[in-house]
Symmetry: C2
Subunit: 217 residues, 2 copies
Amino acid sequence: MFSFSEENYLKAVFHLERKYKGGVSTNALAEEMETKASSVTDMIRKLSDKQLVIYKKYQGVKLSEKGRATAIEVIRKHRLWEFFLVEKLNFNWDEVHDVAEQLEHIKSEKLTRELDKFLGFPKRDPHGDPIPDAEGNFSVSNKLLLSELDKGQTGICVGVKDTSADFLRYLDKNKIALGKTVEVKDIEDFDNSMLIVIDGEELRISQAISGNLFIKM
Amino acid sequence: MFSFSEENYLKAVFHLERKYKGGVSTNALAEEMETKASSVTDMIRKLSDKQLVIYKKYQGVKLSEKGRATAIEVIRKHRLWEFFLVEKLNFNWDEVHDVAEQLEHIKSEKLTRELDKFLGFPKRDPHGDPIPDAEGNFSVSNKLLLSELDKGQTGICVGVKDTSADFLRYLDKNKIALGKTVEVKDIEDFDNSMLIVIDGEELRISQAISGNLFIKM
DNA sequence: TCAATTTTTTAGATTAGACTAAATATTTTA
DNA sequence: TAAAATATTTAGTCTAATCTAAAAAATTGA
Ligand SMILES: [Mn+2]
Ligand SMILES: [Mn+2]
Ligand SMILES: [Mn+2]
Ligand SMILES: [Mn+2]
């Protein structure tokens, strides 16, 4: 059907559309894909010819319905595999991304459907991101960043914005995990660092941390 | 590490070495890979440059130790994934090959190791072929073809030579499965067809069938 | 508003892997 | 043992996906 590269571009456009509502720019896409703008222009043309994106020169791209469905299907597979790796194969949540980047391109409807069933139709991946169902539907919960909480407020960790291994291992090291309750004890005006309580233990975290942890109140 | 194409060629050389002991010819490889001899020559050069095969012009190829280890690793993954699909995801044995052809190229040592463990270190894939262990070791049992049995002899089905969906579905339809006992009731001289007994039922099979079913006595 | 800066596209190359057609080497057979 | 047949390699082309450098369009801001 589509090449790995085409699928990766579609996924990138999908993720960037949240931020760039009026159309995703060539440069934004080049940065996301870690490639050159000229390469992006080439690929955009190709995706446009295949009716996967809507493109007018110098105006950026948007996903077509077909492009969006394809992107969501790839994301569904990525997250299902991440769930599989953590739940069944003893992977830690900081180890799954690169493998899922490969597995998301395996083409087999039956495989995806049966994997989903085998895993019990999970709703969220190990990083708290929603897993689209077979029809491409997924919940967008109204979570907020820990950094947006005020002193005295309490919430539950439900996801991470940054999914880098470094950040995830920091969280592991400090016993911060999805599902746990955090309370904002104090906020330092100077650097916006926070004193939080988690598992009854006090912990001081920088804004680099609180700005990458999703909370539900 | 290596491209999908390189891995597929190595696998093909590995399988063909059984038949062509003195070196696998360009044409044999071209047929196995369903490609042209000229493409094979190109790839052989590349594999030779990478020290994966031993090659002298016009003399065919053999795997180097490094090439053999790589081929075995790919075959290990292929068969582990086939086992996974049948045992955990409700695939039938005639549906697994194409998906395994994709999955065998996923690069992650941890994934292979943990999948193996998760599956309970299986020794054989759904078609009766041995699954190499993490060190690349696997048993080569001395099975023979059903067509080699004489009238009156009995054996257990342990594998299939042809793994095409058509053949496997024929076996399913006729209740022939690995592990079952077959008895050769009669052999027709004219066309070598056999009258066999399986599950207490008589069945007449052509040589196309008996020549593709492995038996252990 | 128009020159400078930034963004995007175009032009031209490169690499992997495949193909066709032609050349050359090897093997078979008369 | 020399044609004939077959197998293999070489030469040249093609496509997908990438790159660099240059050109062109859009945006910014003095
Ligand atoms: Mn991921
Ligand atoms: Mn994830
Ligand atoms: Mn197979
Ligand atoms: Mn198999």
